[in-house]
């Protein structure tokens, strides 16, 4: 009998060519996909060139996605994308996306079947942990590590300890995966899972859509986590099967695997959650929010820019108007999501409500463009970070929430629930 392992340990062992790994062990692993974007890849490309290496290790295993400051917001940004484009042409990179093909990377890669269950994925973007929802070991790294992986196809890891989260109970109306992950970060803190793999389990996760699972895994980094994994199941299979163009493998945690901690949540009493400025851990339940008037609402991003998120927003905004003086910015996360939202009539609902409908981009989430805040302005956003200055002026404020609360609040002009409409 082999020793029990968690899903994280099993994937890492498999990619290190070992039968067993344990927390603390340093290993070298094969990388299935190495990802960079228009902010982080330029540094990796410069490093790549500096080394004098002629070719990337595998042109099918590198993804370069120009999603952060695109459509290019200024000359410098355009130059960064040009660097990606020229490098991709020169190296014949298969998964290079820009222009009308680009989507927010962590929505685009799963949608296109580029990242798959059982993969080891490194990305020079901290929200690379999103793919844990597919049952992949995916984590953010810096540009130097990306450059090294582009050259060798390998990277090194210290095998992380795992924390198991068990979610059970009946969800209240308008409570989604976003609320559960905000609640979790509020509970354990922004360094509560530092250096560790988070594993989300329990009947609530089993019943959850792939979109909500990706929202939860996406924010593992906001608790300091190295990865945020979900054991793949029938839903994973249904999502992945029509998309995959190469073989993939399901790994599952053994029932007797060892965890650093097991944390159980009865979700029955969890309300919709709002993270107040300036940390994702500053979460409170909707009933305690009080009056917070808003200048801007953003619905989109790698956390909540999928079609399921827009469906919820459309359901709430149908026949309603955005509050006077408030800007509602909706950014479908990929061209496919945009097309689906058009087809399903969501864009018409948003347009009639008075929303600004933008292209797929990370733009406002990081204060890049397409929704930057002025001094003193307050925004409610379905994104993942509310640090000082994250969406613009250092004296602006960002509150984090789910698409349902965001849509309702855009109508109310203050943070509020769909039940108030």
């Amino acid at each position: 009998m082999s020793q029990p392992m968690t899903i994280a340990e099993k994937i890492l062992a498999d990619h290190a060519g070992l039968d067993h790994v344990e927390p603390g062990q340093l290993i070298e692993v094969d990388v299935d996909i190495a990802l960079g974007n228009d902010i982080t890849a330029p540094i990796a490309i410069e490093i790549f060139k500096k080394t004098g290496v002629k070719e990337v290790f595998d042109r099918t295993k590198i993804a370069l996605v120009a999603d952060h400051f695109t459509p290019n917001k200024d000359i410098k940004s355009a130059e960064q994308v040009r660097l990606l484009r020229e490098f991709s042409e020169e190296q014949a990179i298969v998964h290079f996306y820009e222009g009308g093909e680009v989507g927010v990377e962590h929505c685009l890669l799963p949608e296109k079947g580029i990242v798959l269950p059982g993969d080891v994925v490194i990305g020079a973007d901290s929200h690379t942990c999103t793919y844990g929802a597919l049952g992949a070991f995916a984590t953010g790294v810096g540009s130097t590590d990306l450059a090294a992986a582009m050259i060798t196809g390998k990277t090194w890891f210290k095998v992380p300890e795992s924390i198991k989260f068990v979610y059970s109970g009946q969800l209240q109306p308008w409570v989604s995966g976003k609320d559960l992950i905000l609640y979790t970060i509020g509970d354990i803190g922004v360094d509560g899972a530092l250096y560790m793999a988070m594993e989300f389990t329990g009947p609530v996760i089993e019943n959850m859509s792939m979109a909500e699972r990706m929202t939860m895994s996406n924010m593992a980094i906001e608790a300091g986590g190295k990865a945020g994994l979900i054991n793949p199941d029938e839903k994973t299979k249904q999502y992945v099967e029509p998309r995959a163009k190469r073989p993939y493998k399901f790994f599952e945690s053994d029932s007797d695997a060892a965890y650093k901690k097991v944390i159980e949540y009865d979700c029955t009493n969890i309300e919709p959650q709002i993270a107040f400025p300036h940390l994702p851990e500053n979460t409170i339940g909707m009933s305690e929010v009080g009056i917070v008037e808003l200048d801007q609402v953003v619905i989109g991003s790698c956390t909540n820019g999928r079609i399921e998120d827009l469906a919820v927003a459309a359901q709430i905004l149908q026949g309603k108007k955005v509050a006077e003086g408030l800007r509602l910015i909706i950014l479908p996360a990929t061209p496919q999501v945009w097309a689906d939202a058009l087809e399903k009539g969501y864009l018409k609902i948003f347009s009639e409500a008075g929303a600004i409908i933008g292209p797929p981009t990370c733009g406002p989430c990081l204060g890049g463009h397409m929704g930057v805040l002025a001094k003193g302005e307050k925004a409610l956003s379905t994104t993942n970070r509310n640090f000082v200055g994250r969406m613009g002026h250092p004296e602006s404020e960002v509150y984090l929430t789910s698409p349902a609360i965001a849509a309702a609040s855009a109508v109310l002009g203050r943070i509020g629930s769909p039940s108030e409409l």
């Binding site: 990305g123 130097t144 250092p394």
Partner: protein, 167 residues
């Protein structure tokens, strides 16, 4: 390797947007990044900081984004090292890869005040607050990592090795 410098203090959870705001990430030029280093935490920092200064912060320094621009900005601004009880993991890895020494020390934010002169011995992990004479202990940096830092980061270090093998 010994580092000696004047201390600037910061609190808990200093995130990468505070270290280098995303609005400046349309470039990776170190000098330009240095001009905005830590400005959302302290707008005057880029003007005040001098070469060789040391940052002492509380836990989870560098949380947030994977941007390597964060250690690049700190290094280019002249920061000699960062001392904190803990670091976010991507920042930790990026800092060494960029050749910015960092030290994990639980007591530092409690015992060291802003403006103090501090000396850090990377070989032993000993930190001395020269202003008060108090000493504390951090994880030492092993010799191979010190060499990596001296070479200016992982890539320069590897290239130097390749060159020395070829010659």
């Amino acid at each position: 390797m010994k580092l000696k410098g004047r201390v600037w203090k910061f609190g808990k959870n200093i995130d990468t947007d505070a270290i280098i705001p995303a609005r400046y990430l349309n470039t990776s030029d170190p000098d330009e990044l240095a001009r905005h280093c830590m400005e959302d935490a302290d707008p005057e920092f880029p003007n005040k900081v001098q070469k060789g200064d040391i940052i002492v912060a509380d836990s989870n320094f560098g949380c947030g984004s994977s941007r390597e621009h964060a250690p690049i900005a700190l290094k280019a601004a002249g920061v000699a090292c960062v001392i904190a009880p803990s670091f976010a993991r991507i920042f930790y890895r990026n800092a060494f890869n960029m050749g910015l020494p960092i030290f994990e020390c639980e007591q530092a934010p409690k015992l060291i005040e802003e403006g103090h002169e501090v000396e850090v011995d990377a070989d032993t992990g000993e930190i001395i607050d020269l202003t008060t004479g108090k000493t504390m202990k951090a994880q030492p940096i092993p010799p191979f990592m010190q060499e990596l830092i001296r070479d200016g980061g992982l890539i320069s270090h590897i290239m130097k090795k390749i060159e020395s093998q070829q010659s």
